[in-house]
């Protein structure tokens, strides 16, 4: 475990440089720097959190927060009993987990491949091009995909036709809907997500490579022993933080792509709740649902944080 060692060394070094004369005077400015941030955070994040109580109320806008009657856990019970339809939860988890995993791997792989390009102009051009789809909303892309993936004369099926493959009804088939959703999501996002990794690559000290070169390490070895370990902290951070979205499978995308033919495999918690019409005007229920998703996401982050510390001895913060 090369990267673990690397991180270990780093941490150890830090501990050994421990200063003897660490005093309040030295730390005080550091705390002061945090003050504005903490104040902003309290005002704009923590104070509004008081509004979460409506997850336990039958919220009526004209009654307001205080006057709306309490209903205890009714909304939560409802959420579980109603979506007793386990399929919806299963769809949500499977789609979001695959998106998380691929959404982590693809940009890293792409960044590594791009890193091998030495023609600056080419590198920059590619980078700009892959970052474009991120800027088109799903409303627009939904229309484009519907055309491109059409089994009757769509671009993709025409292409597959060259290889003698029968037209595939990507958006109307329960076999193909999930792969289509996941791949199109990765396609839209990977260029943008790559930027973080490119920034990391840019920060790697070139002298490390020079040294390896001297030792006669192949490029593959350099990537394996220098590049990846240097990227590991950021990869771990990105991975752990993305776990907060474990129950967000992408409402905008699915809402714009799905149809009654694929409810079975494509319906997720958010689209389901939207269709039920519960969220519309029912702030209490919407808050309860959001809270449920947040709690699950938070639990995952805490566990991952612990695991990273225990097994890799790395604290992401």
């Amino acid at each position: 475990m090369e990267e673990t060692n690397e991180i270990n060394n780093h941490e150890n070094k830090r501990r050994t440089v421990k200063k003897s004369k660490l005093n309040w005077k030295r730390a005080a400015p550091l705390y002061l720097m945090l003050v504005p941030g903490v104040i902003f955070c309290i005002v704009f994040q923590y104070i509004p959190m008081a509004g979460l109580i409506i997850a336990f109320k039958d919220f009526k806008p004209w009654l307001g927060f205080a006057e709306s009657p309490w209903v205890g856990l009714k909304h939560f019970e409802f959420l579980f009993s109603y979506s007793g339809n386990l399929q919806v939860i299963y769809n949500t988890v499977i789609i979001s987990v695959l998106k998380l995993v691929l959404g982590l791997i693809v940009p890293i792989a792409f960044a590594l491949l791009l890193n091998e390009i030495r023609k600056m102009v080419f590198k920059r051009t590619i980078q700009t091009m892959v970052y474009l789809p991120y800027f088109l909303s799903w409303v627009i892309l939904g229309g484009i995909l519907l055309d491109m993936l059409s089994p009757e004369g769509g671009l993709v099926n025409n292409f597959l036709g060259f290889f003698g493959i029968d037209p595939i009804f990507f958006l109307g088939s329960n076999t193909w809907f999930r792969p289509t959703v996941i791949i199109s999501d990765i396609w839209k996002e990977f260029g943008f997500s790559t930027i973080v990794y490119l920034a990391t690559l840019a920060g790697i000290n070139p002298s490390l490579y020079e040294a390896a070169e001297m030792d006669g390490a192949t490029r593959k070895k350099q990537t394996w022993h220098i590049t990846l370990p240097c990227m590991m902290p950021i990869i771990v951070v990105m991975g752990i933080l993305s776990l907060g979205n474990i129950l967000n499978a992408g409402f905008d995308q699915i809402f714009n792509l799905y149809n009654p033919l694929v409810y079975e495999t494509g319906d997720i918690i958010d689209t389901f709740v939207y269709r039920v019409g519960l969220v519309k005007g029912d702030f209490g229920f919407a808050t309860a649902m959001g809270m449920f998703k947040s709690v699950i996401g938070f639990i995952f982050i805490v566990i991952a944080y612990r695991l990273a510390y225990k097994f890799a001895d790395y604290k992401i913060f």
């Binding site: 501990r15 941030g37 091998e116 700009t128």
Partner: protein, 292 residues
């Protein structure tokens, strides 16, 4: 050198081809939008436009750019994006710097970080935020779009990790020279973290450029809408069956060519920013230079 190696050369050729194909795949939707925006409206509505305009015309652009509100909203957006990047960036640096220190230097570091991370997941929702903005008297003001997004735990955690990868020795050298924390942050950390700062700035810019919902609820008049909000109000698919519209109105709403032109003009400024920031993550920063 490794790149003289034969195996590597073969890999390199494949790599070029593969990346080119991937890039072309990503270019298709934008080219399509562009082609539609330059096409005749009937051809666009019938779905005949692929990657090349049919019945070429620039009507859609003249109509879009002639719209006062559209042009005005671009200025609102520029203003919002600049403020919404500069202020949060400063704030993020101020927070990430102390939190990147070790536990020995700053006690309760993990606790404080969790304090921020918690907000990444939990939020009160739109109603309390709306009331807060109202109580603070920020309704209809640019600040209602910026201040609530000043703190982002995601950005803080990313930046603190970048700060951590800066070798200790550099900071210590600075302290030996008698530099304070603020000076160390801005004179040493900042230039060394340019790739990270460019990345986060880009995230913030894109976020502010694309956010539309807050503009809609906090601005009572459409003349104050930022671009994304304005576009949302004109582009978003209407549920035709719910509206009692005359055919003329329907035809107007569904003008695909105008919408495409608006999408393109709307995305253009932020697309143009990217190449300027790019140099910070294409080239590596030479760490050694500062050390000496």
């Amino acid at each position: 050198m490794y790149y003289k190696n034969r195996g590597y050369k073969i890999f390199n050729v494949f790599n070029y081809v593969f990346l080119s194909l991937l890039a072309i795949l990503c270019l298709i939707p934008l080219i399509h939008v562009l082609a539609v925006s330059f096409s005749g409206s009937a051809a666009a509505a019938a779905g005949f436009v692929g990657l090349w305009p049919v019945n070429f015309t620039i009507d859609a652009y003249t109509e879009t750019l002639g719209n006062e509100k559209f042009v005005n909203s671009i200025f609102v957006s520029i203003q919002r994006t600049i403020l919404g990047t500069v202020i949060p960036m400063l704030m993020t640096m101020l927070i990430a710097y102390p939190l990147s220190k070790s536990n020995d230097i700053i006690k309760g570091r993990a606790m404080i970080t969790w304090f921020f991370v918690f907000t990444m997941l939990f939020s009160g929702g739109i109603i309390p935020n709306y009331i807060l903005i109202l109580e603070l008297g920020l309704m209809n003001s640019m600040w209602s779009l910026i201040l609530p997004h000043t703190i982002s735990a995601f950005h803080i955690v990313l930046l603190l990790n970048f700060f951590r990868s800066i070798p200790k020795e550099i900071e210590e050298a600075a302290i030996m020279d008698g530099a304070g924390h603020i000076k160390t942050l801005f004179k040493i950390y900042l230039p060394l973290s340019m790739p990270a700062i460019a990345t986060l700035s880009l995230f913030m810019m894109v976020f502010h450029w694309n956010s539309w919902f807050d503009g809609l609820i906090y601005m009572s008049s459409s003349s104050n809408y930022p671009l994304a909000t304005f576009l949302q109000t004109v582009i978003v698919q209407q549920d035709f069956s719910q509206l009692n519209l005359s055919p003329e109105e329907m035809a107007n709403i569904s003008e695909r060519t105008v919408k495409s032109a608006q999408i393109f003009i709307g995305a253009l400024p932020i697309l143009l920013v990217y190449p300027f920031l790019q140099k910070y993550f294409v080239k590596g920063i030479v760490l050694g230079g500062v050390k000496e």
